[in-house]
């Protein structure tokens, strides 16, 4: 396969950045998207040019490190699939592919397609946990949790923190990510004592990090590689509302 790639290049966070055109002719349909970029980078390095920086690690769709907006869609055209699991058979010979970083004020570009998503970590530090120290936990079966609720918690906990929701949202809002964090623990008895605090603190940190506001476009849901439903956003809104009314305790 032959492809024309338009790739965002930006040397440093303060650089303006621009799209750069590359032609790639030795693409196999069995390659993953990142393997295709590997091939490009091999060519670039042999030519003595700076390879394209992009984040990736597990390449199994679970670590959440890979990103990229491909032809306007976060993680590319295949539903419920991270970029690393997207294969080139989703493209046709002769296609032009535009590759951009996840764009948001809260995700500043580090270099080329690499962005800084530490804002997600800071949101989690504000309360995305159960305050329990190691040791002294009761027997795991002492607290029965019905399968339906446990499954619901798992649906939310499946979030890999990739940030595609932010990238896809026309407002760069992080609501799906935050609601998945809140939803995971809100559906478990272990999460109840801190439920109200958690909702308030995560939301206020989310605001402070400079994400946009949710306008219920539901673009986040469409690109989420783990198919986390927007119902969790409604749940978070409910949790937050009742936390405020309870005075935030």
């Amino acid at each position: 396969m032959k492809l024309t790639l338009n790739i965002w290049r930006q040397k440093t966070p303060s650089d303006a950045g621009h799209m750069e055109r590359h032609e790639l002719s030795d693409v196999s349909p069995d390659m993953s998207f990142l393997e295709m970029l590997d091939v490009l980078n091999e060519h670039l390095q042999v030519e003595g040019k700076d390879p394209v920086a992009f984040d990736h690690d597990c390449r199994e769709g679970i670590c959440g490190m890979c990103s990229l907006v491909i032809n306007g869609t976060a993680h590319g055209p295949m539903k419920a699939t991270t970029t690393c699991q997207l294969h080139m058979r989703s493209f046709k010979d002769g296609d032009t592919v535009d590759i951009e970083p996840f764009r948001a004020k809260a995700f500043p570009v580090v270099k080329d397609l690499t962005v800084d998503r530490s804002s997600f970590d800071r949101i989690n530090e504000a309360g995305g946990f159960v305050s329990v120290n190691t040791g002294g936990a009761p027997d795991a079966n002492a607290l029965p949790i019905g399968k339906v609720e446990a499954d619901k918690a798992m649906d939310a906990a499946a979030c890999i923190g990739c940030g595609a929701c932010v990238a896809a949202c026309p407002n760069a809002s992080a609501m799906l990510f935050v609601s998945a964090k809140i939803g995971h623990l809100a559906h478990l008895p272990q999460g109840q004592p801190e439920r109200a605090r958690r909702a308030l603190n995560l939301v206020s940190t989310m605001d402070a990090e400079g994400f946009g506001n949710c306008r219920n476009y539901y673009e986040c849901e469409a690109v989420c590689p783990k198919e986390i439903p927007i119902d969790f956003i409604a749940e978070m809104n409910r949790d937050w509302r009742s936390s405020v009314l309870k005075g935030g305790s």
């Binding site: 949710c214 306008r215 409604a234 409910r238 937050w240 405020v244």
Partner: protein
């Protein structure tokens, strides 16, 4: 009260206020529609209704102030949120596009601003008589009441005015098609089970508001029903 102020500064708090005021304004839209539809009942009914409203006196002003407050809050917060939204993505995508966002959701700010402009025009037209002053100045009816019926008929006899109203109401309908179901999501009042119902209700409301509101200018312009010249 600090907790309340803090909550109202939060993105979620402000969105909920926008949702609640939107809901209030929707109530007004329905009341307004119900009142105005009396134009189909003839001059007497509509003028009596209009006079009745005026006779409310101070109460009318309370209602008006409440409405203005809701309107201003709704618009101001929505615009503030929209400004933040723009700032949240300083560099736009070169290759844009959406997956499942509805046209209504994508045009909320645009339709909102259009509605705002229309409201100003509409007030100038039928409340203050500043626009197309001849329509407002139709004079009084036999009982000495402002001839609102005559004003409306005069106003909607001009194709350009009707076109403007129909376009504006289309904006409102588009705004509501997303706004109504959005209220439920923002207030956290929905759930997977109710979601299809809520979505359909939202669309139904948009259709009712559209059909109800355009029925008047179109009927008058085209001379249909009670407005037919033959009758």
């Amino acid at each position: 009260m600090n907790w309340l102020l803090a909550a109202l500064r939060s993105s979620l708090g402000r969105k909920m206020v926008v949702a609640l005021t939107g809901l209030g304004l929707l109530g007004f839209v329905f009341a307004h529609l119900a009142g105005n539809l009396q134009v189909f009942l003839g001059r007497e009914a509509l003028n009596a209704y209009a006079q009745g409203l005026k006779d409310l006196g101070a109460l009318l002003w309370v209602a008006r102030l409440g409405l203005i407050a809701m309107f201003v809050t709704h618009v101001a917060l929505a615009l503030q949120l929209a400004r933040e939204n723009r700032a949240a993505r300083p560099t736009r995508y070169v290759h844009g596009g959406v997956q499942q966002a509805s046209p209504g959701s994508r045009s909320m700010v645009f339709t909102g601003v259009m509605i705002l402009l229309f409201v100003a025009y509409h007030l100038a037209h039928f409340t203050f008589g500043a626009a197309h002053a001849s329509h407002y100045a139709v004079g009084s009816d036999a009982l000495g009441r402002h001839d609102v019926y005559g004003m409306v008929v005069a106003g909607f006899s001009e194709p350009l005015v009707v076109g403007l109203y129909v376009a504006a109401i289309a904006m409102l309908a588009l705004h509501l098609s997303h706004g109504v179901q959005s209220v439920f999501q923002t207030l956290g009042l929905n759930g997977p089970r109710y979601e299809p119902i809520i979505k359909r209700t939202g669309c139904a409301i948009a259709v009712i508001v559209f059909v109800g509101n355009v029925s008047m200018p179109l009927a008058i312009l085209m001379g249909l029903g009670p407005f037919s010249t033959g009758a």
